[in-house]
Symmetry: C2
Subunit: 351 residues, 2 copies
């Protein structure tokens, strides 16, 4: 016997690279190419160091209220965490304690199975169809919970809220998490469902559409009783999760709806011409409702493109996984960044 | 059956109040009364909003390196988290997976049993002696792990490293966590043990001695292989825990050793005269090596003092728990704050 026998052995999630070089075209972790709102700059300039000696508000009231107001909810329907990863980990801990398997697609955010494995939660992946679309019937069998990313990652494919509601209706005894990390780039939010069903939980993040990945702010929205269970577990893990800068700067970001809408629209406009260019070059992909595309080429291996781009300072994401090994997930950056990507592809001979 | 049957039911930790009023004398959550280093102010002033659009470095390399340098360790011996609460929660998850009980004192940081309950870890509290001192022999029986706060909270009592090493030697097959949240106020750190024993883990925090509770930075120090297990679980929970402001400002704080030493010395100097005043007023307490005192009065009920102080704008901490119900934990503030505390006690008739 050794202490090492009692170690929780896990295979951790591998995040995309965060290169320290300056002139990289970084299209590998779905960050927003535009700076955060000038209101964030202003709040940062006005921030003083002195209050940092005190613990932050454990309830992060200011931030939670701002989120609640933005979405027309009461404060007790909102939970804030350290990015949606923290929120989702807490949700898995709080709600997925059944002996029945939690269901999610075989191709989806690759952290779901990591959390399940780490927390020893039984799960069963459901294959997407050949066009990477969910088969709703797969989520209508016995289960211990359901997780659906909408739009899905890394595919970018969105499903209508009506489909989600159909799944919810078929599962009154399960928690259904709808992970809407990318919803602001063109998908329909399932948020209205939280007023009708106390077993639906919506998660969103400031990391993509609000250009604040560096602050780590995510949130869940659900019925008050559901959020209460989540808060109980959170307060059993870490009382003060949201630090002072997150609370202050996150709140400032929410006050600037115009910036948010304008930058999201710019990303969508770039996505539009980028899709056309990819099509012209012979790439195949499903319609994306997110700030990335998931592309494949009939003649050139994804891994080769990935390596070539990387060697030329353009980082995209390649997953060494079944069914998607010949795909690349490419973040929508600024027009000039996408131009450089296409130059590289042409240099490589894809024309 | 309902989804509520699968909810993880917990009794959460209750943090001390964070009142929003301005003129409170806040001696209830062991914050440092002095502002953070001017180097933090400088780094805050130089911080720009633009980098916030990017994910922070998942390894928090800059901060981890600064901590490693400060303590003469290699980077792979340091793990940073969102306050020591996050670090401790991760440690419990990573290392306490035995069927044997984890051992810690009956009177100690009240989050240990919350984590154990939340994670369904068996545990067994060991009674402190009547002077609130650890009985080392209690930690020399079969166990699934050991947690010792040194100095202990809420008592302030420290034990020598020799005693800790004795416990470590008796437990080669257990992980021993030494929670040194308050060590910089006068206790001896067990850090040298990590070079000799791979089953010893030291945790510390920026929240007290470095005046940065608002940033939420804690850290663990241990042998590289031990830290690796911890990192695997961390990367299975949330890749990016330390946000950009924490990394930048925390690193700045570490660069100012002079400020750190001077403010700690000031707290210790105040503690010295405060102890004398408490003694003169008839209070009883053990010698404290922390930035708080744990006091009781033979004639006046702690709860009455707590209520009286609170009504007069002086917040201290009272725990409604066995053995310590007649004690108050009082943070060492600035001299003027302690003067106001003693004025209140005198007004109350304690002379």
């Amino acid at each position: 016997m050794s202490w090492e026998n009692n170690v929780r052995r896990v295979v951790p999630y591998v995040p995309g690279e965060q290169p320290k070089e300056q002139d990289i075209v970084k299209l590998n972790t779905n960050e927003n190419p535009y700076a955060p709102s000038p209101m964030v700059t202003k709040a940062l300039r006005e921030m003083r160091a002195r209050p940092l000696r005190l613990y932050p508000d454990p309830k992060a009231d200011m931030l939670v209220s701002a989120i609640a107001k933005e979405y027309g909810l009461s404060n007790d329907m909102v939970f804030a965490g350290i990015g949606s990863d923290d929120v989702l980990a807490m949700l898995f801990m709080t709600f997925f304690n059944s002996a029945k398997p939690v269901l999610f697609p075989d191709i989806t955010y690759s952290f779901y199975d990591v959390w399940a494995e780490m927390l020893r939660i039984p799960y069963e992946t459901q294959p997407l169809d050949e066009n990477f679309h969910i088969v709703p019937e797969d989520y209508m069998k016995e289960n211990g919970g359901i997780v659906i990313a909408n739009p899905n990652a890394p595919t970018g494919v969105a499903i209508p809220v009506a489909t989600i509601e159909m799944i919810v209706k078929a599962n009154p005894d399960s928690i259904i998490i709808v992970d809407e990390a990318y919803v602001d780039f063109g998908a329909e939010s399932a948020l209205p469902l939280v007023h009708k069903y106390d077993n639906v939980i919506i998660t969103q993040t400031f990391s993509k559409s609000r250009s604040l990945a560096g602050l780590r702010i995510g949130y869940a929205m659900a019925a008050p009783g559901t959020i209460r269970y989540l808060n109980d577990v959170k307060y059993s893990f870490n009382s003060y999760t949201m630090n002072y800068p997150s609370i202050v700067l996150g709140t400032a970001a929410l006050s600037d709806k115009e910036h948010f809408e304008r930058t999201c629209a710019k990303v969508c406009a770039t996505r539009k011409w980028v899709m056309k260019r990819f099509r012209d070059l012979g790439f195949k992909f499903e319609e994306s409702s997110a700030n990335f595309l998931f592309v494949t080429h009939p003649d050139v291996q994804a891994r080769d493109i990935y390596d070539y781009l990387r060697a030329n300072g353009v980082y995209v994401r390649w997953f060494d996984k079944p069914r998607i090994r010949n795909y690349l997930r490419i973040t929508i950056g600024k027009d000039a960044q996408m131009d450089r990507l296409f130059e590289c592809l042409e240099d490589m001979g894809i024309k």
